[in-house]
């Protein structure tokens, strides 16, 4: 804003053309609060109007030009000065001159590429925003409007189950199975833990969901782990031959899709951590990565195809289970 009381100033307002119909999505801000922003997908056009309102009526506004930009950028918290822009589009709205009265300018960024999902994390932020600027000799007048972008995926062609035998030799052998390796954000993890050998005194068992945010490259890689969920699946001591079912509804937890090496700057990955605790509070655990993806409302496989895949692995079926992979832990 202007620090000098003489001269004209203006207020900028950005309004989208489809503000009435476009959906909004909730997104966390850096300080943890939740706000609603207009939701966009990759390839959608971003169009609207920039209203420039002169503050002092009657006076002219001298300027070096008006422009509006559409920016997608990654900001690493430990390196705030450097914004990594991966999308940068600009439209000039007015050439340098004088503005005699308040005006409205139309803009359109056609079929804008938005390759990554908006993300606000512990050490990194990826955001998209419109920025309208009135350039002036001494100080510019700026207005930013953040939007939120979601990346959608369709049901994966291949979604194998995760099945492994792990344990400590002669002490504890278990076989764990999760019905898929890729889950959408409102999916259900269905699985089981089968006890092959139990020579320790187990008190209870839980499954945790861990989010790992990785920033930096090479020697400066930094992992931030966050336990999103802890879900007890067994209370008490199991014996050989027992199976403990797992049914974990993901919709109840705040998660994002898996993000791998976004613009070579950061990753967000999710892990299931199976934890067994014995009577002396010793913890035995096995971590396994899962891929999370965001399902679109429109793009879906037919129900019958889903049912066909599902029936191959559930109770009542005669089919034998696939070969277990060997993995000693």
């Amino acid at each position: 804003m202007s620090f000098f009381s003489f001269g004209q100033s203006a207020e900028i307002d950005i309004v989208l053309n489809d503000a009435e119909t476009r959906k909004k999505a909730e997104h966390k801000t850096e300080d943890g609060k939740k706000d609603k922003y207009f939701l966009f997908y990759d390839g959608e056009t971003v169009s609207g109007k920039v209203n420039v309102t002169l503050k002092t009526p009657g006076k002219r506004l001298e300027h070096q030009g008006f422009k509006i930009e559409f920016i997608g950028q990654i900001e690493l918290y430990y390196d705030r000065g450097n914004h990594h822009e991966f999308v940068s589009l600009v439209k000039d709205l007015a050439r340098p001159g004088e503005m005699a009265q308040s005006q409205t300018f139309d803009f359109e960024f056609t079929h804008v590429e938005k390759p990554y999902e908006s993300y606000t994390g512990q050490n990194v932020k990826l955001r998209y925003f419109l920025r309208a600027t009135v350039s002036r000799r001494l100080n510019d007048i700026c207005k930013e409007m953040d939007i939120v972008v979601h990346t959608l995926s369709t049901y994966p062609e291949l979604n194998s189950s995760i099945k492994m035998e792990v344990g400590i030799e002669d002490c504890l052998h278990i076989e764990f199975e999760y019905n898929k390796s890729k889950y959408h954000l409102k999916d259900v993890i269905v699985g089981k833990i089968y006890f092959l050998l139990v020579r320790i005194k187990i008190k209870h068992m839980e499954i945790d969901i861990i989010k790992r945010e990785t920033t930096g490259t090479g020697p400066n890689v930094y992992h931030e782990n966050d336990t999103i969920a802890k879900y007890e699946i067994m209370d008490g001591a199991p014996v050989r031959g027992e199976s403990i079912p797992i049914r974990l509804f993901l919709a109840g937890y705040e998660m994002t899709p898996t993000m791998r090496d976004i613009n070579k700057k950061f990753s967000v990955r999710y892990y299931l951590n199976l934890v067994l605790i014995d009577e002396e509070e010793r913890r035995y655990f096995k971590q396994q990565e899962i891929t999370l993806w965001r399902e679109g409302d429109v793009a879906r496989k037919s129900m019958s195809h889903q049912a066909a895949i599902a029936s191959q692995r559930f109770e009542g079926s005669e089919k034998t289970l696939p070969q277990a992979k060997e993995d000693s832990n």
Partner: protein
């Protein structure tokens, strides 16, 4: 458009063998530290504790054993485990050196309540340690629990199945 209801039916499981379901569990391990006895006279007195072990774990050579140990034997075991294994060894009950000073109103380290407190601490210590899968691989633990006496000149080694 209605949301597809996720399939949450349980995965197929093998029925459990009835012997496994109702038989004795494979993790039976009971250790008791009992019957403190003070032996010797005058300045050469010391207290020993009986260590009774009952188990069905294959790693133990004897399914039942009974030995007598004194506090310094426990200290030796703790030192061996700390050095030889990667286990974070729990602490022993206190050494109570102040109780060994003269001119005390009570019986010092031969005081009944002190011995009982120590006995409980030693029992907790052994149960924690003997159930640890890594500690179970150490020769020193088996020697402490089941051999007639502790040979402090032994060669440390790892044990697999008995």
């Amino acid at each position: 458009m209605a949301e597809a209801i996720a399939d949450t039916r349980r995965l197929y499981t093998k029925p459990q063998n009835l012997n496994d379901a109702y038989g004795p569990p494979s993790n039976f391990l009971e250790i008791d530290v009992t019957n403190p006895e003070t032996v010797g006279v005058g300045r050469n007195r010391f207290t020993t504790y009986e260590i009774k072990l009952k188990t069905n774990l294959p790693i133990f050579k004897l399914k039942e054993s009974r030995v007598r140990r004194r506090y310094s034997d426990f200290e030796w075991l703790r030192g061996e485990l700390e050095r030889e294994s990667k286990v974070v060894v729990p602490p022993l009950p206190g050494k109570a050196l102040f109780r060994q000073l003269p001119f005390r109103g009570d019986d010092g380290i031969f005081d009944d309540s002190f011995i009982e407190e120590r006995r409980q601490g030693l029992e907790q210590f052994l149960n924690k340690v003997a159930g640890h899968p890594l500690a179970q691989n150490e020769r020193c633990l088996h020697m402490f629990l089941q051999d007639e006496s502790v040979d402090k000149n032994y060669t440390p080694s790892k044990i697999r199945q008995a």
